[in-house]
Amino acid sequence: MESSPPPLPSQRFRWLRAFLSLGLLVIALVLSSVVISRSLNRIEPEPLPSRVIPAEGLSILERIDREFETAWEKDQIESAPEADELTLIRRLSLALTGAPPSLEEIQQFQQLPELADPVQSWLDHLFDDPRYHQYFAERLARAYVGVEPGPFLVYRRRRLVNWLAEELAVNRPYDEIVRSLVASEGLWTTHPEANFVTVAIVDGDGKNRPDPIKLAARTSRAFLGVSLDCMQCHDDKFGDHWKQEHFHELAAFYAQTEMGLTGLREARSREYEIELLGDTEPTQMSPRPPFRTELLPDIGSRRERLAQWITHEENEAFARATVNRVWGLLLGRPLTSPVDDIALEGPYPVGLEKMANLFRRENHNLQGLIRVIAGSTAFHRASASDLPESPITQAQEQAWAAFPITPLRSEQVAGAVIQSSSLQAIDHSSHIIHRIRRFGETQDFVKRYGDQGEAEFLETAGTIPQRLLLMNGKFVAERTQPNPIMNSATRLANYSPSDEAAIDAAFLATLTRKPTLAEKAHFASLLSDKKGKARERAMEDVYWALINSTEFSWNR
């Protein structure tokens, strides 16, 4: 795997060009030194939550790892090797910002001091990045309100996502975020969190009230990880646990909410009535949580009480639901599927209880949870074995002894194409033209590539339109064709010190890894002896192959 030093360029002019490009590089380095030193200052690892690393004995991280390792031993599953550092930061950037790291970011990363924990340092970098705030907010919002445009006039999804992004930027405790959503009051314009409730207002029924059934369904799935909404029309047919009443008593918490001139308010005299299966008369339902009723406070409006109950430190279901979802967002597959259907009384998948308990005790610290998951042995597994003769097995993947291969979402593929065509990170500090172009074209790309909406972990692959779009589409062509100002392919073709260095950089920019020896030999040969436009076109072909590979569109 170790790459040999690049051979000297065979031609004099190549040597001259190398010299000039080195000069350019020096200038660029001087100019960006301020930025880089600022970034490096940011990359001071923050300490983990206090209780993650206790003074003596096994740390909680080690105990979570031990649980996985014990399970692997018991089932005689060998764990895949440790993934290399670049793979780890690729996974993190894709999950948290929706795009792989830029070439410039990779270079910054490689300058980190040897001792720093690469994953935790990279998280420090990402947690400060507005791309994380926006992207993760969008992913979470899908569980809260789905992706539909919702009722006209009283709902703006974008405002909810922006609000959530601001909350993530300051790492507001997750229980506080959820309480704001559930108990929100006021207008959707001045209180963006109120959109969680107003999305359920029924268009055109004249009542101007959110549908308690829709809100109860969202609440049980997104915050409790229980698909109680199945009991909307009948009792649980597979067990004795749930009754129809459980769902409607939850819905009753939302029954008094209505929209007034000053926004959401509670009509405290209205009661919730529903006709249960087999009944001919409606029954009045009092608000009651479906389990752990002792945690429900006595005072406050119905929604305030519900919000307190959901996020109570002792409510394990809330912590489990959050851990399972965040795990899924980071590893592409939740610990237990479907993501919002966790058996209330277990058995729980390996790792879930320990992480959920930690999350509860650590004040529902979302960044802390991401650090724990990203620090786990499961996250650090490679997705391939070192030995081709004994490849990864299904059993290894199922048990998290190998990192699962999952498809990137459409916006991640778009983000990857855009990012790989630029040497610098395309983010909030990019030129406005870059950003506008990125937004408009991403929307169009996502539409055509296929957005799975809120079906977050639906595995979909192998569609012809996706392939046609990447093989022949304008989106990729414009970002890889000869263009010395905009495109990294052209710039690498012209300014790299050698063919091999250009290929190295192209692999890093697209796949976040160095080429293997065989790959380097093949791709460098495509560039060798080519000059000018022919060289730029050859590099375009290199990028085409990289972008059209399985590896580019799948998380590994």
């Binding site: 029924d205 799935r221 009948h234 979909t460 692959a461 192998g462 046609l468 072909d541 399985t550």
Partner: protein, 438 residues
């Protein structure tokens, strides 16, 4: 693996009967895969060989909610007509809106259901409901009817060769094109725009030599990616190379010309009307001729909350020539019995005009047209209240009943339960066949 999960809204989902059947499939080694390789495919293949069954579906989608009163369920002279008139048709005793004179001449070739009901009055939810036969439900995306057909029936054969182009196509897709849902994105409708434009991205941007080198480079990358990874990663999971191969097959296929309407005689093109929708209908005919399983053509613009009559007059003027020319075209090519033609919409519109002379959303009795495919034609099913007061039409037909009827007629066992990724089996459709049509 078999966890006892709570059951769903959907019908009688907790009986032991289907669990037993499901276990049978599991023990037969199809665990978790029965939704990829349905046994009914084999059955359908048998049916296909005998040539008895219709094989294709065309859905003309009137998006926005077409008013039943100005299309297929007029109440002329009544309080709810507000001046909308009706005309007699080739079907005895069946009148339709006067804005559809060409269709009126062909009403003996189709049947109209005037009593379709659903529980969804919001566009996105109602479109989901009408296209899939299921109401939206968190945690799962149900497949549209065209995806079900592509999944359940074998790959169509045309001229002795399997079809190179997609079997499920949406022309002029709206914001809500037909989707594969839990069957997988590869069953999503392939989307194309106005047929005056060529299909996007089906032409390589480079010459053959460069294309060849690109594919060689791709091979190098794929070989290193496969190294040490799951042996059946490509075959069972990524399907990446397969999709590229299929895309290439399509790029070089003569069947691509089926999308092209330029070569059709001018007279024929004119008959469909000079509109994207008309051209879409003509392209649909060519695609069906080539063996495509399901084509959806969307006509947007029926959401007439303001000035309903004027809006519908415009829409009818686009729909009328296209629909009638399509019926003629299918009959001329002897494809009418092979093809079910469905004209659908997400809901109807309110019997009462609002203050802006518009009609609002009304899922309590709207109209759907069904024809071809050996279905009974020339009849009207159901009746809505001429006074517009009642929201329970006579002989009500649920959205899912239309699904069951179409699927049954095309040879799909619609009661068959597919495994879904959420861990519980669901019948393909929970509807009941509409016996008057069979």
């Amino acid at each position: 693996m078999e966890s006892m999960k709570p059951s769903s809204l959907f019908g009688d989902c907790g009986t032991t009967a289907h669990l037993t059947r499901r276990h049978l499939f599991r023990s037969a080694g199809l665990a978790g895969l029965s939704w990829l390789t349905p046994l009914s495919q084999q059955l359908a293949l048998g049916a296909e060989k005998t040539g008895k069954r219709p094989r294709s579906l065309i859905v003309l989608w009137l998006q926005g909610g077409a008013s039943q009163l100005e299309t297929f369920d007029p109440h002329p002279g009544g309080a709810v007509s507000y001046g909308s008139s009706a005309i007699a048709t080739a079907a005895k005793g069946v009148q339709i809106g006067s804005g559809l004179p060409l269709t009126a001449e062909r009403m003996d070739q189709v049947s109209v259901i005037r009593s379709v009901t659903s529980k969804e009055g919001d566009h996105a939810r109602a479109i989901y409901n009408t296209k899939t036969g299921y109401r939206p439900f968190p945690g799962i995306v149900h497949p549209s009817i065209g995806a079900v057909l592509s999944h359940e029936l074998p790959t169509p054969v045309t001229g002795g060769q399997p079809l190179d182009i997609p079997t499920h196509i949406s022309i002029l897709p709206s914001a809500f094109p037909a989707r594969g849902g839990y069957l997988g994105a590869r069953f999503d409708a392939f989307q194309v725009g106005d047929p005056v434009n060529p299909v996007a991205d089906v032409r390589s941007r480079v010459d053959d030599d460069r294309a060849q080198r690109r594919m060689e480079s791709l091979d190098v990358l794929e070989n290193s990616f496969a190294r040490g990874r799951l042996p059946d990663l490509e075959a069972k999971r990524t399907l990446h190379r397969a999709a590229i191969a299929n895309a290439q097959k399509m790029m070089t296929s003569d069947q691509l010309s089926a999308f092209n309407i330029e070569e059709r005689p001018e007279g024929e093109r004119k008959a469909y009307g000079d509109s994207p929708f008309g051209r879409g209908c003509l392209a649909a005919l060519g695609l069906i001729e080539n063996g495509v399983r399901c084509v959806e053509v969307t006509l947007n613009g029926w959401d007439t909350h303001i000035n309903n009559h004027e809006g519908h007059a415009k829409q009818n003027a686009i729909l009328d020539p296209a629909l009638s020319a399509l019926i003629d075209g299918l009959k001329e090519r002897d494809l009418y019995d092979d093809t079910i033609l469905l004209v659908g919409t997400e809901f109807g519109r309110t019997p009462k005009l609002n203050v802006t002379e518009g009609r609002d959303h009304w899922p309590h009795g709207f109209s759907v047209l069904l024809g071809g495919g050996g279905l009974r034609s020339g009849i009207a099913i159901g009746e809505t209240d001429p006074s517009g007061e009642k929201d329970d039409p006579a002989e009500p037909v649920r959205v899912e009943d239309i699904h069951a009827t179409v699927l049954h007629q095309l040879g799909v066992d619609y009661e068959y339960e597919l495994d879904t990724p959420i861990g519980r089996p669901l019948p393909i459709s929970e509807g009941r066949r509409i016996h008057q049509l069979l």
